[in-house]
């Protein structure tokens, strides 16, 4: 038995080495059968308090060139990708509030906008923090969950509605149930792209704001507040929406009961039991294209790598060994499973940021940086590593 275990271990190590080489797209070798497979991130770096983060509970990440901004439960950090060095700011350093819950960068000015959980909104520019809150400004509430830059405006998703701040005129506009179809006012997330602002709202689904016409459109669960989807793909899966991401004309949504894709005409729901999602409890979503989206859940990271073929990659961390796993599945069939020394730092994932070929994942135990120099979109013909696929799937 003892020899059998040793043999299996040797086999596994060899297999992993092969898998690692074959999984990295361009670096894949011709070992094993070849199939059309998505790119899998196998090289990960972690950043935690041990490496300089001010706190391990990471709520937001924003990549801006060589800088990666990290919002934590007790401070703001900036990772220099080139050196791996971390600079951080706490309240004693001028950060107006300890909990940084949201981040966005104005692409024109380079200013970092910081959502503060209980402290309002801040702008970090040239080393100076400017602070807006309920008392000194028109911000509707200090509990800010999300921040998004839209042209010259900054949106803040707060627990009492959404605020839109015009940085040129200084005007604050509040959106609540009074002037928008916001049935509940607990705004969880906000995103902007191509003339549309999307709010993910706890109990009010998703609201779409057309910047040109300043009109609203609401997306609610046709099944009401039921936690199951009675008629699939009839709309958003649930009204408790946590995140939105709009890219290439496609809206991606995360909720506490599953995820969504909306192409402007058709909805598509995604659930743990029939996809590679590690959980239906979505904390955040980031679309990379019309066909690729990353979902941060309470049990790991689910990546819809190729929508047309329903191909998923599921990233998790083994809580016992702290090793990482990536499972590739298609139409509920596992195609590939990769054991890695590292994946995401913790399975409770709260944020995902796409950074060119790389990805950044915020978790309750630090930041994971998925390095993907050979990243490719969709599927590609490459070698498959066939491990104990069924077993790995079962473990998941």
């Amino acid at each position: 038995m003892k020899y059998l275990i040793i043999a299996v271990k040797i086999l596994m190590v060899c297999s992993l080495l092969v898998a690692r080489r074959s999984a990295l797209g361009s670096r894949a070798t011709s070992h094993g059968p070849r199939e059309k497979l998505p790119y899998v991130y196998t090289e990960w770096k972690h950043f935690t308090v041990n490496t300089g983060l001010p706190n391990d509970h990471v709520f937001a990440i924003k990549a801006d060139g060589p800088k990666v901004w990290v919002g934590t439960e007790n401070g703001l950090a900036c990772i220099d990708k080139r050196t791996g060095k971390i600079k951080s700011w706490k309240e004693k350093d001028g950060l107006p509030w300890r909990v940084v819950s949201a981040l966005d960068v104005n692409p024109k000015t380079g200013e970092l906008w910081v959502g503060l959980f209980g402290g309002g909104l801040a702008r970090f520019s040239g080393g100076r923090f400017d602070h807006w809150h309920q008392l000194n400004s028109g911000l509707v509430n200090d509990v800010v969950y999300g921040v998004a830059i839209e042209n010259d405006n900054v949106w803040a998703a707060t627990t009492a509605g959404a605020s839109r701040y015009n940085t040129v005129t200084g005007e604050w506009t509040i959106y609540t149930e009074k002037n928008s179809p916001m049935e509940e006012i607990w705004n969880y997330g906000v995103s902007y792209d191509a003339g549309k602002v999307y709010l993910g709202i706890w109990g009010s689904g998703v609201l779409e704001f057309d910047v040109a016409t300043e009109t609203w459109k609401d997306y609610l669960d046709p099944d009401g507040e039921m936690e199951i989807d009675l008629y699939r793909d009839d709309g958003i899966v649930h009204v408790i929406s946590t995140g939105t991401s709009y890219i290439d004309g496609i809206l991606w949504v995360s909720t506490y009961f599953g995820m969504n894709r909306y192409d402007g005409r058709h909805w598509r729901g995604f659930y743990e039991h029939e996809t590679g999602l590690p959980s239906d409890f979505g904390n955040a979503v980031k679309g990379r294209s019309a066909n690729e989206a990353w979902f941060a859940t309470d049990k790991g990271l689910g990546v819809l790598a190729d929508f047309p073929s329903d191909t998923w990659v599921t990233y998790t961390m083994d809580p016992n060994t702290h090793r990482g796993k990536a499972v590739v599945s298609q139409n509920q069939k596992v195609l590939e499973a990769i054991d890695m020394p590292k994946s995401i730092p913790h399975n409770y994932a709260l944020w995902v940021e796409i950074d060119g070929n790389d990805v950044w994942v915020g978790t309750s135990k630090g930041v994971g940086w998925g390095i993907g120099p050979g990243y490719y979109k969709g599927l590609k013909d490459r070698a498959v590593y066939k491990a104990k696929i069924v077993k790995i799937k079962a473990e998941n």
Binding site: E111, S125, G138, A160, V168, I174
Partner: protein, 960 residues
Amino acid sequence: MRRSLLITLIIVVLAGALWAAEGQRKHPVYVGAKVCATCHQGKDMGHQFSRWLASKHATAYAVLAKPESKKIAELSGIPQEPQESPMCLGCHATGAHAEAWEKDQTFFTEDGVQCEKCHGPGSEYTDAAIMMDRQAAMKAGLIMPTIPDCMGCHQVKGSHVAVHKLPKLDMKKALKDIAHPTPGDFKYGPMSQLPDVTGLKKGRGKYIGVLICAACHKGPMMGYQFSKWRMSAHARAYAVLATPEAYAIAKKQGLKGDPQTNIACLKCHTTAYHQLTEGVIEFFSLYEGVGCEACHGAGSHYYPEAVMRDRPAARAAGLREINRETCLRCHENPHDKPFDFDEAVKKIAHPTRAPAVSQAPRYKTPLNMALSPDGKELYVTCEASHTVIVVNVQRRQKVAEISVGHHPTDVTFSPDGARAYVSNRLDDTVSVIDVLSRNVIATLAVGDEPHGLLTDSSGKHLYVLNTSADSISVIDTTTLKKLKRLSASRSPWSLSRSPDGSAIYVTNNLSRFVKFRTPSVSEVTVIDTSQAVVKDRIVVPAANLMQGIAWHPSGNFALITLNRTKNLVPMTRLLQGWTITNGLGIVWRAPPWGEPKDGRVDQVLLDEPGMCFPDPTDVAITPDGRLALVTSSGSNRIAVVDVTKLISMLEAASTYEREHVFGNHLGKPTEFVIDHIRTGDSPRGVLIAPDGKTAFTANALDDSLTVIDINSFCAVGRIDLGGPKVITKVRYGERLFHSANITFNRQFSCHSCHPDGHVDGLTYDIEPDGIGVCPVDNRTLRGILDTAPFKWEGTNPSLQRQCGPRLAVFFTRIQPFTPEELSALDNYICTIPRPSNRYRPLGAELTDAQRRGKKMFERTMTNDGRIIPKGNRCATCHLPPLYTDRRRHNIGTKLWLDHESDFDTPHLNNIYDSAPYLHNGIAETLEEIWTRYNPDDEHGVTNDMTKDQLNDLIEYIKTL
């Protein structure tokens, strides 16, 4: 049980009814005096309408056409035509601050101060049934004004007194003059026996009324024809028929009853009965008296502009020429009064072109300069003449003058020299000048009050400092489109490009907001020109009014001008150089670029014991880096700084000395200031020619440039920019305002605390009553003339008092201004213009948020339906047009540091640009006034407001 159910039911029904009533309440709109007249006219109503029509209130709009009104506007720093200025119209018209939709078609601004000015917009209470019930009428918006309401407009106004020399209004007599009591046996309703005005004379056209004529025949371009008529006896011809004299004349002529209903009287006292025509159009009013058409004929056929521009066509369409016969029809010895035609014609003359009104001399006021890249021409921005003057450098002569926008402030050339860019501070624009043709080829909208401007070294991006918006506009010079706005600190002022072109450093005139009762912290904003973003913000502690900036050719540091204002201790303390010490900052750029060591700032003084260097404004460095020239606009001098010595002194000093000693050391300047050179009056910009031999200063207050030979440190020439040679009283006052001669040791001028008449953003401890006691926020001087009393405690009744003894006792500490000087100074202060409101351009409609905010500003009930006591409503103390009742109130802002609890009500015009707020400057933003400092609803009832309502209120307040 049944009883409680019944009570509940009743409550529900009542609540529903109340809710329904609330829902039906409409926003009142102005209907105009003539609508009121439908009931309030005639003998049975005491001729109330006619009494108004014959009063000064009715001509209040028209009098704004008088030259005196223009003079008052000029004195008050109002740049618009009085008949177009919201400030003037606020008291000279009705509903001046209402939007177009808040005025019915029957309402005309030209009718001056009408019934609704005092009684409120009438649409909801004009119905006779409502008016019969005073309670109901008041609920529907009827206001019964009290004397304080009248005082909103009738308090003494310095500007008006200066021109009219009239004594204070005797309110008792005034009320008697305008009294219009309703008779005890009044009878509402249209007048009876009003004859039919339609004479049905075919082919003669219909009467259209003066107000249609006025649509074209008003304003300065038409010689204010309408206003002239409105001020004439012709316009009162109908109204006078209601006087006892008219009744007596009628009786004498054997006419019975009310002359206003008697056709024999109306024939000469109204237009419509003058000559029978086809009738009248809908808006024609009998009440206009003898209008244009009484003499010129019914206008319905000739009034279109196209016809009127063709004189024969107009004649053919019924426009009559006026001759003696026209007048004599009514004026030939009427009521035994002799008639002198020639005199009468003179009296009512209304030529299209008004006689020219003599204007004050137009000075140049040069502020800043730029040298063309070929070194041949100097462009000089001239604030007062709204021009850029071109000077030939070799000939040292003015060769051209280019009109640009209002208050041009700074100028820069594109690197290729093909274009010059000019910031127009009053217009919020940048003029683009084609250098070859000397024409303005484009005008770009930028942010509030653009000041400094400069391109990057490639010329691709133009950076414009929006002084009043705390931002920097980045403009693509190819498309001339705004790319983005960067955030500066407060009041970005000047900028300078590093020798390698990689960075632009920006000085900020005002300190950042700091915690209450803590020293200033100013900022040099660093722009990375490769990405056009703010890369760094260098902190300069204890400094403010950082204005001039120049890079040393080595690229190791930049020099900035600065003040170190000790605003936290009483102004009587001479500690560390007294109140406002003046100096230089050395902003280091330590290699390698971008490391944390960047941005160390040394501060040194330019003041010396007994000889200060007030208002250091600009700095330039010789190409060899050896010398720096700094202008002192308050003492008409240039300091020559030996840069090598200055740097050596710093390098030889300890860190402690550099951080804690030099910034306050009056003995140090003698080590590096090697000479002072006299200039013309109030030197602002300074520029050194590329050869390093010659320098120029722009002398703002004597319209000249001083030419300086750098080798000999001598002023060797004066270039006259061509301003008027006469020095007016206002100009004299302007010089006094900018001169430090009035202060102990000549340390500061009025301009030091009120740069360009505005604010320095500081809270001062002025009086020697203990450290930190009674701190007061510095207030703007823009548009303050009619806002007396002055001082936060409201104890100075006039500017003369404020700037006279008070200034000497607490500020300047030497002999006060002489009466002549004081008078000139006050004259100047009053003319400091207030820029147009950025949040509501003239004539613009309110935005939705502003409109909702206006409702909050004017509300009389809380959200839960409680009546807000009149004294606790915004509009009670902040009433238009100045938005101050000019009285003191306790709004609950007294702190442990204050002696007083009642403070002067500040005006709210352009309130957005003078933060911080409240008497002690404790509120950084308008929001904080109510969210932090109004806990007990003493400063208006605001605590019931939702956050969005408060936002709306603030959006509206910003439009005032």
